[in-house]
C-alpha cells in the first residue's frame, strides 16, 4: 500500500520581482540572470509569512481533492524557512485548517518535498493513515543576503501542497545524503547567551556555485537513471520529468546525459525562481491544473540540494 494524489494546490505571494527590479539596486542585469539561471522573475513575500503560504496552498489542495480538514490523519511540511523554531509549520497549518491530526516538519532543504513523500509512503504502508496533507513551503527571501548578487537573484518564495489518499501510485523512490556543511549552508542566529563563545556567521544562504552545480547534475542524472532501471522501465517510458527548479543550467546539463525526450522536462523557474522545497509541488500543481496530465502518466520527480541531499521517485499519476 502506498498512496495516490487526490488533489494539488499552490500559492505564491502576489509581489513579483523582475530581474530589472533587482538590477536597480544590485550590480547585475536581466541578461546575466536569464543566461546564467533561466530566471526572469520571482515572487517575494511582503507581509505574508511562510505559514501563510503553506496554508493557502493547503486550502487549494483540499478544495480540489474534496477532502475536509477534519478527515486528515497527518500533516507534514517540508521547509527550511518557517516562521518559528516551534511550533512547526505543520502545527500552525493544522490549527488554521481546523484539523486535529499529528503534524510535523521535515528539514531536507531542496530535497525536502521528496523526503516528505517517502515519509508519507511509510505511514501509508503501515496503515497508520488514510488521508494526508503534505506541503512544501518556503519564505527563502528571509534567509538571503540581499547584498550578495550570486544568491539573492536565484531564490523565490512560494508553497505547493498535495492531499494524499490510499493507493498504489508511488512506485519507486530513493533518498541520498552526503553530509556537507561547506557547499551549501545557512547558519543560524547565534543568540545572546552570555556564555556563548561561537562566532556569528552571516545567517544567510551561502552557496558554492560550481560545487553545487556539479553535485546537482550528477545527482539528477544518476538518481533518475538508477531509479528508472530499478522500476523496470526504460528512460523513454517516462512521460514527465519534474525536477527541482534550482537553475535551468542544471536541468539542461542533465537532459544531455539522459535519454528522456527533452520536451518532457517541466520548467517554471523562469517565473518562480528557486523555491527550495516548494518547487516540486508547485510545478506538480501547475501541471495538474493545466489539464496536461493523463491518469496513468509516469512521472519522475527529482531533487537535490542542501545536506547535501538528493532524492527521486516515480509516480503513476
Amino acid at each position: 500500500m502506498s498512496f495516490c494524489v487526490l488533489g494539488t494546490g499552490s500559492y505564491a505571494p502576489p509581489k513579483v520581482v523582475t530581474n530589472d527590479d533587482l538590477a536597480s539596486f544590485l550590480e547585475t542585469s536581466d541578461e546575466w540572470i536569464r543566461e546564467r539561471t533561466g530566471i526572469r522573475q520571482r515572487h517575494v513575500c511582503e507581509k505574508e509569512s511562510a505559514c501563510d503560504l503553506a496554508y493557502q496552498a493547503a486550502l487549494a489542495a483540499l478544495e480540489q481533492s474534496g477532502v475536509k480538514a477534519e478527515e486528515l490523519d497527518m500533516i507534514l511540511c517540508a521547509t527550511i524557512s518557517s516562521d518559528f523554531s516551534t511550533p512547526s509549520m505543520a502545527c500552525v497549518v493544522q490549527k488554521r485548517l481546523g484539523a486535529s491530526c499529528p503534524a510535523m516538519d521535515i528539514s531536507a532543504a531542496c530535497s525536502g518535498f521528496l523526503f516528505l513523500l517517502d515519509t508519507a509512503a511509510g505511514f501509508f504502508a503501515r496503515g497508520r493513515v488514510k488521508k494526508m496533507l503534505v506541503i512544501g513551503a518556503e519564505r527563502i527571501s528571509r534567509l538571503l543576503d540581499w547584498d550578495d548578487r550570486s544568491t539573492c537573484v536565484i531564490f523565490g518564495d512560494g508553497a505547493g501542497a498535495m492531499v494524499l489518499g490510499e493507493g498504489e501510485n508511488y512506485l519507486v523512490s530513493q533518498l541520498s545524503s552526503k553530509g556537507d556543511d561547506e557547499v551549501i549552508r545557512t547558519p543560524v542566529f547565534e543568540g545572546k547567551s552570555p556564555f556563548n563563545k561561537r562566532e556569528q556567521e552571516n545567517p544567510y544562504i551561502h552557496m558554492k556555485g560550481q560545487e553545487t552545480f556539479r553535485f546537482a547534475v550528477t545527482a539528477m542524472t544518476h538518481d533518475l537513471k538508477n531509479l528508472i532501471a530499478q522500476a523496470g522501465f526504460s528512460e523513454g517510458d517516462i512521460d514527465w520529468v519534474v525536477p527541482h527548479q534550482a537553475n535551468i543550467r542544471i536541468i539542461d546539463a542533465a537532459k544531455k546525459r539522459l535519454n528522456i525526450p527533452p520536451e518532457r522536462f517541466c520548467v517554471n523557474i523562469d517565473r518562480y525562481g528557486n523555491t527550495s522545497a516548494a518547487s516540486i509541488p508547485m510545478m506538480m500543481d501547475e501541471l495538474n491544473r493545466s489539464g496536461k496530465l493523463k491518469r496513468g502518466d509516469l512521472m519522475a520527480l527529482c531533487a537535490f540540494g542542501g545536506g547535501l541531499s538528493s532524492a527521486a521517485c516515480i509516480l503513476r499519476w
Binding site: 543566461e35 546564467r36 556555485g209 560550481q210 560545487e211 552545480f213 556539479r214 547534475v217 550528477t218 537553475n247 543550467r249 546539463a253
Partner: protein, 76 residues
Amino acid sequence: MIFEKLVAVLADHVDCDPSSVTMDTTFEELGVDSLDTVDMVMELEEELGIELELDEKISTVGEMVKLVEEKMGEKE
C-alpha cells in the same frame, strides 16, 4: 589529442569557430562562464575516466588542457 577533445566539447557549448581556438584563448572571450566550465570538466571526466579538481582557477584553454594531461599522466 586532449586539446582537440576540449575544442570539440567547447564547440558543443558555445558558438565558436573551432579552428580559431588556441591554447591561449580565454574562456571569457569564448563566452564560457563558470557553470559551463564545470559542465565541460564533467564531460571530460566522463569521457576520459578521470577526476578533476575544481579548485584551480582555469581561465584559458591551455590551462584546462594541462590539468587534464596531468591527470591522465597520473592515471598511467
